[in-house]
């Protein structure tokens, strides 16, 4: 089963003559990282190149960067950021706070798995309203048993939403204007119809899924990018709460519904 080498199409390093563990030059997809990319490449170009042999077109890079700006901070109400803050207020390590953000932000409710599911839905339904109609009514109880909990809402839509949030509409319109890509363009023109079929408003994860799919990412890549791109806000809010201290962080009241002390009362 085993091999003694790590295989990669992404990265090559040349060693210093005096030390096989010290990097003289590093190449990402053939480009000299320290010799040519650093100082010349945008961060988003490096990000795209890590996932692709070739750089995307300029408009695609602009779209990815715009999406990265939108996703950078889910805000302190978001469960993933809340989890990161729970780490920092107790003095946990920085990595523990980010692990908390990743673990909570990985889920099927507003998390990266929702993006994965939504990208599968895009693969299945494309720009066909009838297909979305059928997909949204699938009984997920018959889904193959999985380590993930069962999906409880059509992916990419807000199960608690009433109407599409202005922020979601703005993100969709901006990304569609920048990229003019097929799914985002269709979603912009058909959003109202699609939401009527799904009976829920579009969520940020749905826009992100369409954008990732238009950029040529597969669902696994979209899930990974969504996890990655939402971490900066978790980090910043965690550090901020550490500064405020736990006494200014909510510790909610509890209503215990199965209390042995209550049962013992006459």
């Amino acid at each position: 089963m085993s091999t003694d080498k790590i295989h990669t199409r992404i990265w090559r390093e040349e060693p210093e003559p005096d030390n096989p563990f010290a990097t003289r030059a590093a190449f990402c997809r053939g480009y000299d990282v320290y010799g040519q990319m650093v100082g010349n490449a945008r961060w988003v170009e490096m990000l795209a190149l890590l996932f692709r042999d070739e750089l995307p077109a300029a408009t695609e890079l602009d779209m990815l960067e715009a999406l990265a700006v939108a996703l950078a901070n889910p805000g302190p109400r978001d469960a993933s950021v809340h989890a990161a803050m729970c780490g920092s207020v107790g003095g946990s390590s920085a990595a523990a706070s980010l692990i908390a953000a990743l673990s909570v932000g990985a889920g099927r409710f507003r998390g990266a798995r929702d993006v994965y599911d939504a990208m599968i839905a895009w693969d299945t339904c494309g720009t066909d309203l009838d297909a979305w109609n059928t997909y949204s009514r699938l009984d997920t109880r018959s889904d193959f048993v999985d380590t993930w909990p069962r999906r409880e809402h059509p992916p990419g839509f807000d199960p608690h939403g009433v109407s599409t949030a202005t922020s979601v509409c703005q993100l969709l319109e901006t990304l569609a204007r920048i990229g003019a890509t097929p799914r985002l363009s269709w979603l912009t023109s058909q959003r109202w119809q699609l939401e009527k079929i799904i009976e829920l408003p579009l969520d940020v994860s749905g826009v992100a899924a369409a954008a990732f799919a238009d950029l040529g990412f597969n669902p696994n890549e979209g899930e990974m990018l969504y996890l990655l791109l939402r971490l900066p806000g978790a980090a910043a809010h965690a550090l901020e709460q550490e500064g405020y201290g736990y006494k200014q962080f909510p510790f909610y009241p509890v209503e215990l519904e199965d209390d042995p002390a209550a049962r013992e009362l006459p």
Binding site: T8, W11, P20, G30, D53, A95, I99, V145, P253
Partner: protein, 270 residues
């Protein structure tokens, strides 16, 4: 109630049946006072009570302990253990290393994934047989659409853990359950089907035993979370005791690069 009203109804309060603590006073664990009712409980028994809300006999707890013990391998080459060891070698903290290693253990081809799918298979097979279908017919249908989890092992089809666990189950009088017996029948049928490499693996045996103990797939899934944990601290510790960075150091030449050759960046700013 749904939409924002549903969210609004849950603002700022924890309504729970599983428990709470009042610092300086008491703690409640699933309807029992933790200190009055559970202070001398075995830790695994408490863990199972937390998962299921049910209590288990000493024999059952011993068997479930055995499931964890028999597969605790402190081998830092194994992927999940390697994460713990790399954390030690990289001078990260024990909790970060062990938590990451446990998360990695919820894998598709070993650990959490196969176990979950194997218990799902046994529970569905048990129901099918109860409704009159033969086990072989059920397996035929299953093999047409998917794998049968709990059988086959990538490195060596013989699983060295099984005799020890089977023996423990027998000693505890827990080897007569429907699903445990079925696990061996499935192996024989797979052999008759011409699939000699699909011998029962650890996931198959522990899933059948868990099904006989009445665990649901989700309960079994959570039971499995710390299953490999005992093997991980030695890996972290030994790596932490050795000179930093010496676990699996990789020189530049040991990376097999298979990508695009060297090329010039497109817009170099002079």
């Amino acid at each position: 109630m749904n939409g924002p009203e549903l969210l609004a109804a849950h603002i700022g309060v924890l309504r729970t049946r599983v428990g709470a603590c009042w610092p300086g006073t008491r703690a409640v664990f699933r309807g029992l006072d933790l200190h009055q009712g559970l202070h001398d409980a075995d830790w695994l028994e408490l863990y199972l009570f937390g998962i299921t809300g049910r209590r288990y006999t000493p024999e059952q707890v011993k068997l479930l302990h055995g499931i964890w013990v028999i597969t605790s391998y402190p081998d830092a080459r194994i992927w999940n253990n390697r994460v713990a060891a790399l954390a030690g070698s990289s001078r990260s903290t024990p909790a970060l290393g062990l938590a990451a290693a446990m998360a990695v253990s919820e894998a598709r081809i070993y650990g959490g994934g196969p176990g979950l799918r194997a218990i799902d298979f046994f529970l569905r097979a048990g129901k099918a047989v109860a409704f009159g279908q033969t086990l072989r017919d059920f397996m035929d249908e299953e093999l047409k659409s998917k794998y049968i989890y709990g059988y086959g092992r990538p490195i060596d089809s013989c699983d060295e853990r099984l005799p020890w666990l089977a023996s423990l189950a027998r000693e505890q009088g827990l080897d007569q359950g429907q699903h445990f017996k079925m696990a061996f029948e499935v192996e024989i049928i797979l052999l008759e089907m011409g699939k000699p490499n699909l011998r029962m693996n650890y996931a198959g045996m522990i899933a059948s035993l868990a099904a006989d103990l009445g665990l649901t797939p989700r309960e079994f899934h959570i039971f499995l979370v710390p299953m490999f944990l005992a093997g991980m601290p030695p890996c972290w510790l030994e790596a932490a005791e050795k000179p930093e960075g010496t676990l699996f150091p990789t020189p530049c030449g040991e990376i097999a690069y298979e990508g695009i050759g060297q090329r010039t960046w497109r817009n170099i700013i002079p």
